[in-house]
């Protein structure tokens, strides 16, 4: 109790009798979360304005006679004629490590009931992306823990990789897997005491999602022990569109703090289609001219300025972005998908058909690319998985062709068999990311033909048995692959021997 009184006393002591200058205006109309305000002659673009009752707004339209503001927070108590004051500040959110493990709203206020956030710094929500000179090319891998992605569509730190697909194809699952995998790598790396180890902190921005989904995501992260490395920015569907519009920028600001302070961060925008919809709503209410699909003219800039903030900085850290876009009936040529595809450094395309066939994650190898390519892969993965993409593409082609005729020559048959096995090997359950050394081992076994004699239906079983064998019996070998990150003669021999050992035990 005494501390409370002390705090109040301190505040009283801080009070000064100095005159305060404010610039004010009055609400002329207010509707749908947007207020038109008379006055506010000193207001700047994107400036935060204070409404009575604690609500704040952002000046988005500066017109000749009025100012258009979106209101963040509770608008039910505002009415025409209320006094609005400028704050002279851009909207900013608290940043720092204190946010890890917390769930905040678009303004950085905690919404998880774990008390106030003890953060010392704040970053502006809108920020100009890093320029050309400070950037560095992407060359460090960021492992998603998903074999199909790490071996064929590698993602690097500082990259922007779009995840695109219809509803219910496992887009969110891929990102959650990635976040969980970062947490696992962080735990191993921090426990090893390696000074050069750079942990990756994650930020998950939920835009326009159902609250129940967000709760499930948080629960999945917590169950996997990944919440302590994750910040969740939540702007659920029930939030007003202004909050949904701002949430990704807030998340980016939180991520930028890690990047500026020499750390690596990963940010997931789930999803940008809903973000564009929220922005469209605001723009229509602000009476901005609408263009294609009724989106405003600057919807490209909306996403480009957001995604450009993900970068790898010279001498500092990096921010990797995984935006999600939901398509309708697999149509990637719609307005928002094409925009975001052209902004990002590649995309992971998820297909409903594959998903329904039981191929999960339903990554479509043909349509997915990573423009950073193999620069963001460790050598070991390149060694065992370099040709995978070509082999799989050939397999798909042949599989389609083989449906017509039954007489196939031996070579084609072998290719079909191998391709079918690769597809089976890439199947992976949700929330169970594989460490890269295990991926290398499985792919090595596949390349050396250890799966060839196994019946196609039993490949999944065999793969899980191989994984179990390696994790329980060959821990030292896995650690060696992890530290060396490349397969030399010695390692290859050891891997071969281990696979032989597994083969005898699996057949028996």
């Amino acid at each position: 109790m005494s501390t409370v009184l002390e705090q109040i006393e301190q505040q009283i002591a801080k009070l000064s009798s100095k005159a305060v200058k404010k610039n004010t205006g009055n609400i002329r109309t207010i509707a749908d979360g947007v207020a038109k305000i008379d006055g506010l002659s000193d207001v700047m673009y994107n400036e935060m304005v204070q409404f009575p009752g604690g609500a704040i707004g952002i000046a988005l339209n500066l017109e000749e006679t009025e100012v258009g503001c979106v209101i963040l927070g509770d608008i039910s108590k505002l009415k025409e004629g209320d006094e609005v004051t400028t704050t002279g500040k851009l909207l900013s959110v608290p940043v720092g490590k204190a946010l890890l493990g917390r769930t905040v709203d678009a303004l950085g206020n905690p919404v998880d009931g774990k008390g106030p956030i003890d953060s010392k710094e704040a970053y502006p929500v809108e920020r100009i992306a890093p320029g050309i000179i400070v950037r560095k090319s992407v060359s460090q891998p960021l492992f998603t823990g998903i074999m199909a992605i790490d071996s064929m569509i590698p993602i690097g730190r500082g990259q922007r990789e779009l995840i695109i697909g219809d509803r219910g194809t496992g887009k969110t699952t891929i990102t959650i897997d990635t976040i969980i995998n970062q947490a696992k790598i962080n735990k191993v790396g921090l426990a090893s005491g390696d000074k050069a180890f750079r942990p990756v902190y994650s930020i998950y921005v939920a835009i326009g999602q159902k609250n129940s989904n967000i709760v499930r995501t948080i629960a999945a992260l917590e169950a996997a022990g990944a919440l302590e490395f994750t910040v969740i920015v939540s702007a659920p569907a029930a939030d007003n569109p202004a909050n949904q519009y701002l949430a990704p920028y807030s998340g980016a600001a939180i991520g930028e703090w890690f990047m500026e302070n020499g750390m690596d961060a990963l940010i997931v925008y789930d999803d940008l289609s809903k973000h564009a919809v929220a922005y469209r709503q605001i723009s229509l209410i602000l009476k901005r001219p609408s263009g294609r699909e009724a989106y405003p003219g600057d919807v490209f800039y909306l996403h480009s300025r957001l995604l450009e903030r993900a970068a790898r900085l010279e001498g500092k850290g990096s921010l990797t972005a995984l935006p999600i876009i939901e398509t309708l009936a697999g149509d990637v040529s719609a307005y928002i998908p094409t925009n975001v595809i052209s902004i990002t450094d590649g995309q992971i395309f998820l297909e409903t058909d594959l998903f329904n066939q039981g191929i999960r994650p339903a990554v479509s190898v043909g349509l997915s690319v990573s423009r950073v390519g193999s620069a963001a892969q460790i050598k070991a993965t390149k060694q065992v998985g370099g040709k995978l993409k070509g082999e799989l593409a050939q397999f798909r082609e042949l599989a389609a062709f083989a449906q017509f005729g039954s007489d196939l020559d031996a070579k084609t048959k072998a290719q079909l068999e191998r391709g079918g096995r690769i597809v089976e090997l890439f199947k992976q359950p949700a929330f169970a990311p594989l460490p890269i050394e295990l991926q290398v081992s499985v792919l090595f076994a596949m390349q050396k033909g250890f799966f060839d004699p196994i019946e196609l239906k039993k490949v999944v079983e065999a793969a899980s048995s191989l994984k179990a064998f390696f994790t329980t019996r060959k821990d030292a070998l896995l650690a060696e692959i992890r530290t060396k990150a490349a397969l030399d003669k010695d390692l290859e021999a050891k891997l071969q021997a281990a696979c032989e050992e597994w083969k005898s035990s699996f057949a028996a």
Binding site: T3, V4, I8, K18, A19, G115
Partner: protein, 177 residues
């Protein structure tokens, strides 16, 4: 075999005269040769070949017995070695299983300990959180009360003079900014 022939010759020659009858001898020789030939063809040769066969069979039988014996020995050796090896392997497996089990147990107990401490920490955090929440609530409430009281008191207690003085200083302040 020759004895009966000689006897026969002797017997035949006794009544007449003692001497050698050449043609009888010749006939005897010829018949003997025929007999010998017939015997050789139909009796001796098959018997000889059969005997040869027998000898061969016995030989091979003996050799086979030897081989079997050797093999038996080898097999015995081998089975002994296998048994030894199996023993060694079994002990190795048991050793490894024991080791793995111990490690697993250690890990499990460590994990359990970690989990327990984590739970404790979490519970403490929750308590701390509750406390802080309560304090924050109390603070806002107190602040509200302080402000409300101050307002009332000031509104009632401030004399016109006080207000005038305050206003004068405020005016100075405003003129200076």
């Amino acid at each position: 075999m020759t004895l009966p022939i000689i006897l026969a010759v002797a017997e035949a020659s006794t009544p007449e005269k003692f001497g050698l009858e050449l043609h009888v001898v010749l006939i005897q020789v010829v018949s003997f040769l025929i007999l010998a030939g017939v015997l050789y063809y139909y009796a001796i040769r098959p018997v000889l070949s059969t005997m040869d066969e027998r000898v061969k069979k016995i030989d091979s039988g003996l050799r086979y017995a030897d081989e079997v014996k050797a093999k038996l020995e080898a097999v015995q050796h081998e089975s002994e070695a296998t048994a030894k090896k199996a023993q060694a392997e079994a002990s190795k497996v048991i050793e490894e299983a024991r080791k793995t089990a111990k490690e697993y147990l250690d890990r499990q107990s460590q994990e359990t300990a970690a989990k327990t401490s984590e739970m404790l920490v979490k519970a403490q955090q929750v308590i701390e959180l509750e406390r802080r929440k309560m304090l924050a609530e109390a603070r806002t409430e107190i602040a509200r009360l302080v402000v409300a009281t101050t307002e009332r008191v000031l509104a009632r207690e401030l004399s016109e003079d006080d207000r005038g003085r305050y206003n004068a200083s405020a005016a100075r302040e405003l003129s200076n900014t």
